[in-house]
């Protein structure tokens, strides 16, 4: 495409430690103009730290960073940083401001300029319209706090697109998007890269997506670059996973159904809505697919988070509808939210309180501490969470590890139903496999699992049965394991994958 490559950013021998832990031990990384570049590595490999250093929100200990403009001339570091923008994994949204303001406000650098409402709406529309024109047309004046997680994600991406950046770093941008939106985003990014020389760095744990979008990849492992600028097509899936140091985890996990055949007998949970009935025997893993409207309504009914007449359950000892998540939890219906940063992690509480939170409710504990310390330690050992102390704050852990803390709340708790929203979001491939296994173990002990995922491949791998919702939030069909396929799911959910 380009006869000579210009590297918009080049990182050499970057090092960084936090206290005694050295996170980056000499990373090399470079991005050429107009390329889509996948940045790969397990949780805690140092990807996020490197991104933070490139954008200037963390200081480097050693090594060098160099920015160049399109003609290949060196730029000053501060100036270079302004040409880089990041779409964060944890969304950086201003809930009280409108969609248009969220997209356009960061473009103003001086407080003394006049905020042009009309023009900003037009600019925001142009950016958001590239992803979803209908959504853009009707939502620019809505406060962002009213949006769903995935709509917020679109706003965040639109902001990056309209920032005039030369380099966009996307940290798992598709985690909250539906397949159709992901597809649209990808073709847009490819077009911008080809026609406008935009450089895109893409962090993802979804192998299929990496292959779909990235020409070049760099793999980081334990703070070092192990693969530097290699064509993605020249590496097999196994090779990539091996380089990331997660080969063992990637090995096929054996036949799933074998474990589940031995599931204990017991009463089936029945979920009903008008004209639809799902019987879930103990140990079933029910997948939920589709755009958020439908799954959200089902899940909030199952965990008592919202009062809705649409769904009812029948199970001995349970009311038709839970009145609150507290009632659900005490009756043995667990829930792990997909909104980790807002509704999941308790940021000001130490790890131990985060892990024990649900157990304290189900047991009705009056006192914290005591035997909890040993128990919490064991739970974290089982999940292979490396934490310096149980009394550290969760923010000292990486995003994927925080996800494990949420899972830890319900893993091993004898419960009858466990509802999971995107339990593998932000989690690397190795950890994903561990989570699948942990959930299967819970299922084989008789817990019924309801698993919402926007990643169809994941549903295929874990679920016995999938209920699919269309984009209007209606139930489009229930598919048994034997008939499951990605095409079938894409068809029913109305989202071409």
């Amino acid at each position: 495409m380009h006869d000579r490559q210009t590297f918009v950013v080049t990182v050499r021998g970057l090092t960084k430690s936090y206290g005694a832990t050295s996170v980056l031990k000499g990373v090399d990384f470079s991005v050429a103009r107009g390329e889509v570049h996948a940045l790969l590595g397990g949780n805690g490999a140092g990807k996020s730290t490197m991104i933070r250093i490139i954008t200037g929100s963390a200081a480097k200990d050693g090594g060098e960073i160099e920015f160049r403009d399109a003609a290949g001339n060196l730029r000053a570091e501060a100036e270079g940083r302004r040409t880089v923008t990041v779409v964060h994994q944890e969304l950086a949204l201003l809930p009280h401001l409108t969609v248009a303001e969220n997209i356009v406000l960061p473009r103003y650098s001086s407080g003394l300029s006049v905020f042009d409402g009309k023009r900003s709406v037009q600019q925001a529309y142009e950016a958001l319209g590239l992803i979803d024109r209908d959504f853009a047309a009707c939502s620019l004046h809505r406060p962002v706090g009213d949006l769903s997680l995935h709509e917020g994600q679109m706003v965040e991406i639109a902001r990056a697109l309209s920032s005039g950046a030369q380099l966009i770093l996307l940290d798992e941008p598709t985690a909250n998007l539906t397949a159709a939106e992901t597809e649209r985003l990808f073709s847009l990014l490819r077009r911008l890269a080809r026609e406008n020389g935009l450089s895109v760095v893409f962090v993802s744990h979804r192998m299929k997506e990496i292959r779909q979008i990235a020409d070049i990849c760099t793999i980081i492992r334990d703070g070092r670059t192990v693969v530097n600028r290699v064509a993605t097509s020249s590496l097999s899936d196994t090779a990539i996973v091996e380089k990331m140091g997660q080969l063992a985890a990637h090995a096929p996990t054996g036949t799933v159904s074998g474990a589940r055949r031995s599931a204990p007998d017991g009463e089936a949970l029945t979920i009903r809505e008008e004209g639809l009935e799902m019987m879930l025997p103990p140990g079933t893993i029910l997948g939920v697919a589709g755009a958020p409207a439908g799954p959200e309504s089902l899940i909030s009914a199952l965990v008592g988070a919202a009062q809705s007449k649409r769904w009812s359950v029948s199970f001995s000892g349970w009311p038709q509808r839970f009145s609150s998540p507290h009632q659900a939890a005490t009756l043995g219906a667990g829930f792990i939210t997909g909104d980790r940063s807002q509704k999941g992690v308790l940021r000001s509480l130490p790890i131990i309180d985060n892990v024990m939170a649900s157990r304290r409710v189900t047991r009705g504990s009056r006192l914290a501490g005591g035997r909890e310390n040993a128990e919490c330690f064991d739970i974290l050992q089982a999940l292979k969470v490396k934490a310096a102390s149980l009394w550290d704050l969760p923010d000292t852990l990486s995003g994927g590890t925080q996800q494990k803390l949420l899972l830890a709340r319900w893993l091993g708790v004898p419960s009858r139903l466990l509802v999971l929203e995107e339990p593998t979001r932000g989690v690397d491939i190795g950890t994903k496999k561990e989570i699948y296994q942990l959930i299967r173990d819970m299922a084989s002990s008789g817990t019924i699992i309801v698993w919402w995922s926007t990643e169809n491949a994941e549903l295929l791998e874990v679920c016995d049965r999938v209920v699919a919702f269309d984009t209007e939030g209606r139930c489009a069909g229930i598919i048994d394991r034997e008939e499951l396929s990605e095409d079938r799911l894409a068809d029913l959910t109305g989202m071409a994958a």
Partner: protein, 337 residues
């Protein structure tokens, strides 16, 4: 040429399509209009008991008495929008009055003494701003400290005695007419109200106030100068409190150490009645001004009807409760003004 690589694409890309327009002035100010209607109803209710409540003379009384509270509320609003709180405004108000009166006693003229008085606001606003942004202390704690310190200094200045105003022309600040036909206290209220409303709505720095209050972590990631914005809010709040202290002594012609002690809670009440959330990110200047007006009308009504003035607090409390409940149960989420 490459600076705006994505922008070019955006411009080549989509032709403008119909975008759902934001509601007009009435829609955008629906909370404020509701408060205005409530004030009118309240005034009519008082008027049905005491007819002279609806006279021009009483209107002048209300605006005269309400002006300092309104100006102070605008300052508190700026802090509340950024997600903070300013408990020190009442003490700064009192201290400004004492310092200004004492300065006149030392021979300063009205203008010089006023500037010294405003210096009190600048100093305490900077201390608040510094401790909140640089030292990273909680706004409630910081302004509780300056509330206590400024409050005690207000006694120390004159050893607790009240202080008459020395400059015989000082009444002109409050009751003179820079614009013919309009007393200064109304002029100041209107100018400040319009300036702050336009600043919040139309200036980028004004939108930053909302952004910081909405999510200061997100605002930081977006490159918005969070600390500078908060600092400015505290300085503006203290300066406006100082200024309202000046207006008050120019009206009463006497400075007292406890003059502002009830004003801090009233100013916060006015901001809340006006539709701001104490969690930050919302509120308008027009709303805060109307909230201040409503509190003044309630106080005036309680006096005129002859209810024991000890009931004032309960009536104000009921007004806050009603305002907050209406807001809570109105359908749409509050958003930045």
């Amino acid at each position: 040429m490459t600076e705006a690589s994505t922008q070019q694409a955006l411009q080549n890309g989509s032709a403008p399509l119909p975008i759902r327009q934001r509601e007009g002035v009435i829609g955008a100010y629906r909370t404020e209009i509701a408060i205005a209607i409530a004030i009118v109803l309240l005034a009519l209710a008082v008027g049905s008991q005491v007819p002279q409540a609806l006279s021009w003379g009483n209107f002048a009384n209300i605006t005269q008495a309400g002006a300092p509270l309104m100006i102070m509320s605008l300052g508190v609003l700026l802090v509340v929008i950024t997600g903070g709180i300013d408990l020190s405004v009442g003490s700064v108000f009192s201290l400004t009055g004492m310092v200004t009166a004492q300065a006149m006693a030392y021979g300063f003229g009205g203008v010089g003494a006023s500037l010294i008085g405003l210096g009190v606001g600048l100093v305490f606003g900077s201390i608040n701003g510094f401790l909140v942004t640089i030292a990273g202390l909680a706004p409630f704690v910081v302004t509780l400290i300056t509330f206590a310190v400024a409050g005690s200094l207000a006694f120390i200045v004159t050893n607790g005695r009240s202080m008459p105003i020395g400059d015989p022309d000082f009444w002109l600040l409050n009751s003179g007419s820079l614009v013919p036909g309009m007393p200064n206290y109304i002029l100041f209220c209107l100018v400040l109200l319009v300036t702050i409303e336009i600043f919040l709505k139309k200036m980028v720095a004004g939108r930053w106030f909302y952004a910081v209050g909405s999510s200061s972590a997100a605002a930081f990631l977006l490159g918005i100068p969070v600390k500078r914005t908060k600092f400015l809010a505290y300085v503006a709040s203290s300066l406006l409190a100082s200024f309202s202290g000046l207006l008050t002594i120019s009206y009463i012609l006497n400075a007292e150490s406890t003059a502002g002690s009830s004003l801090m809670l009233q100013a916060i009440a006015a901001v809340v009645i006006g539709g701001a959330s104490l969690l930050g990110g919302t509120g308008t200047a027009v709303g805060a001004a109307l909230g201040a007006l409503m509190i003044t009308v309630i106080q005036n009504g309680v006096n005129l009807i002859g209810i024991n003035s000890f009931w004032q607090g309960s009536v104000t409390g009921a007004a806050i409760l009603i305002a907050v409940l209406i807001d809570r149960f109105s359908k749409s989420r509050r958003r930045a003004g």
